[in-house]
């Protein structure tokens, strides 16, 4: 290789006492053995496991899911969940009916456990679709800008202008009631909201130097989006997602109450909550336990979400 030494250039500075480059810098403060190779996900998992609160959240959620699954072994759907028994109606919590009975004499514990199947799956599925769709729309709009952004975001604005509940009602009315349609209706109602959030998050990230650096080394748009933009907007994504499940459960209950979602006599938490409202004075347990079940799940999800957000941030200590 022929170098081009420039004759009229001053010699290298010696502002430092140490050798400039050849010796690897080796101050004693850093741990000297090379750190083990650990993937991003593996180290995120490690950080998550160290977060006791987050692990507790996972345990809470697993307990609820396990209870919903196990319910099939302990309670008979026809006999305990659906069949009305007027003699037993509005019993307070006690032996026989641990959480009391509702106005038709049905055991609230049994209905809550079965209801978890509906509520959890509707909430989670709806949010996964809404987040996924919102991410694609929002990240595309935010990253590319220009015409794509204008078209996508004006559409989103249009949908946001319609209240989520009203929009879901419209969708279910069009598609017909049922659990699947209910889930899709909720997903579509929340998609524009997530799209807005994801666009905003993308905008804050896309002009960062490291994204420009990715362009400078010749990355394509897809790689930049997936490898450089997406990981940086993971935090708001996860937090919004876990919060969203709670909203989705409530939304599902509202629609069920209107007769557009889960049809009675199938149990669903939100439906149970709103039915209980009428009997709140004389038998508050109907509202209390349905509400507690919803709070329990949302709390667990929020704790998990916070833990995930921290675990996915490599700046947090191992």
């Amino acid at each position: 290789m022929s170098a081009h030494p420039s004759p009229d250039r001053t010699d290298r500075t010696d502002l430092t006492d140490g050798p400039a480059r050849t010796a690897p810098l080796d101050p004693p403060d850093l741990p000297s053995p090379p750190r083990k190779k650990r993937g991003q996900w593996a180290s995120a998992a490690r950080r998550f496991k160290k977060d006791r609160l987050a692990v507790a959240g996972v345990v809470m959620l697993i307990v609820m899911i396990a209870a919903a699954v196990a319910a099939g072994f302990f309670v008979d759907y026809e006999r305990d969940v659906v069949r009305q028994n007027v003699l037993e109606k509005l019993r307070p919590p006690g032996p026989g009916h641990w959480l009391g009975t509702d106005q038709y004499g049905r055991d609230i514990l049994a209905r809550l456990l079965y209801g978890a199947r509906y509520s959890l799956s509707i909430g989670a599925t709806a949010i996964v679709f809404a987040l996924g769709g919102g991410l694609v729309v929002g990240a595309t709009a935010g990253y590319f800008g220009g015409l794509a952004e204008n078209v996508l975001m004006r559409l989103v604005d249009m949908f946001i202008a319609i209240p989520a509940t009203l929009f879901a009602i419209a969708v279910v009315s069009a598609l017909g009631p049922g659990v699947v349609n209910l889930t899709m209706a909720i997903a579509m109602a929340y998609l524009p909201i997530f799209a807005r959030i994801m666009r905003a998050a993308t905008l804050t990230v896309k002009d960062l130097d490291h994204v420009e650096a990715a362009r400078a080394i010749g990355c394509g748009h897809l790689r930049i989006l997936v490898r450089h933009v997406l990981p940086s907007i993971m935090g708001p994504l996860i937090v919004q997602g876990t919060l969203g499940v709670g909203y989705a459960i409530l939304q599902a209950s509202a629609l069920s109450f209107l007769g557009l979602g889960v049809m009675p006599p199938d149990p669903e938490w939100g439906a149970m909550l709103s039915e209980g409202g009428a009997f709140m004075r004389q038998s508050p347990w109907m509202v209390i336990f349905a509400g507690l079940a919803i709070i329990y799940v949302i709390l667990a999800l929020n704790i998990i979400g916070d833990g995930l957000r921290d675990a996915l941030d490599p700046k947090m200590r191992d």
Partner: protein, 331 residues
């Protein structure tokens, strides 16, 4: 090197301009800049904040699209390249960023960061080969091997900048834009990084455009220096010549702005330029510096031509070029 060498400059810009639309009007960030950089040489670009230095650097790499003008790389016009061809050309054209804190993806390890260009361009073969190449690059820039799995936040500024340099070098580029590569670093680290950059230039016959506002640094590393003011190049000369015979009133003022001890009581104080930087939005025609210039004449309201005062020394100020300073300044 191989027989790539041509007689012309490796990188050449002609009439390069970038205007940004703002609600107030058209912002002339870079406005008709011509420059040439020969292979293996360093062109220093100096100017105060907001004069368009960084925009110029990005235009030279076509990281942003120019509003007008051409960038020739090895005689080929980069501005006409298709997306695919441009991505391919990125192997030869790299940039080192000012801020080593924000220019590295915080979620990628040092090894991943340096290997990414190789993956993107499908170079470096198998994962094991790539690992060896990353290791060689880390050695080249003076990073200890054990840092390969460290994350950027675990490194200090100097090491991060070394990661940025290794990443840029992984594609074996010919031309590097150094956008204030040491401005964010401690002074002691600055010298290390500058020396590293100069060593690498000799070893790999790299061609640099070195953007900075630091006059001491630019003088140390550059063969030729261009002084920018509000998007225009006001003076361009070999480094020594510019420091000893600055001709354009702005270049003189810029060099005078460096604080210097007055050794004798009788030494006159240097005049300081008055006024504020005029707005780069819809500027009036003519010399950008005219509003603040002590030597203003009526002709300054016409766009000034670049006048060659001595070989390789261009000055965009006809009155000053007519009577260039005779006595050499004490550098």
């Amino acid at each position: 090197m191989t027989a790539l060498a041509t007689d012309g400059p490796l990188v050449e810009a002609a009439g390069l301009a970038k205007f940004f639309k703002t609600p107030m009007g058209l912002l002339h960030a870079v406005d008709g800049v011509d420059l040439q950089v020969a292979r293996g040489r360093t062109l220093g670009v100096v100017g105060e904040s907001g004069c368009g230095k960084s925009t110029l650097g990005r235009l030279l790499l076509r990281l942003i699209e120019p509003s007008a003008g051409r960038v020739l790389f090895r005689g080929e016009d980069l501005t006409t390249f298709s997306r695919r061809r441009l991505r391919h050309a990125r192997r030869r054209l790299q940039i080192i960023f000012q801020d080593p804190y924000s220019s590295l993806n915080p979620r990628m390890s040092v090894g991943e960061l340096i290997a990414e260009p190789l993956i993107v361009h499908r170079l470096g073969g198998s994962a094991a080969d790539r690992g060896r190449r990353v290791s060689r690059l880390m050695d080249l820039v003076g990073l200890a091997d054990r840092l390969v799995n460290a994350y950027p936040h675990e490194l200090d500024g100097g090491r991060r900048q070394r990661v940025g340099i290794a990443r840029a070098l992984s594609l074996e580029p010919e031309f590097l834009v150094l956008d204030e590569p040491v401005s964010a670093l401690d002074v002691s680290i600055q010298a290390q990084i500058l020396n590293l950059l100069m060593d690498l230039q000799e070893e790999l016959s790299l061609t640099y455009v070195f953007i900075t506002h630091n006059l001491a640094v630019v003088r140390h590393i550059s063969d030729e220096i261009a002084v920018m003011y509000l998007g225009r190049c006001v003076e361009r000369a070999p480094a020594k010549e510019l420091f000893s015979r600055p001709t354009h009133p702005y270049a003189q003022a810029l060099l005078d702005a460096v604080p210097r001890p007055r050794l004798r009581r009788g030494e006159p104080k240097k005049p300081v330029i008055r006024g504020e930087l005029t707005s780069p939005i819809d500027p009036p025609p003519g010399c950008r510096f005219a509003a603040r210039c002590p030597r203003r004449v009526p002709e300054c309201s016409a766009d000034p031509p670049q006048i060659e005062i001595s070989p390789g020394h261009f000055c965009a100020c006809p009155p000053a070029a007519a009577s260039p300073p005779k006595n050499l300044r004490q550098p």
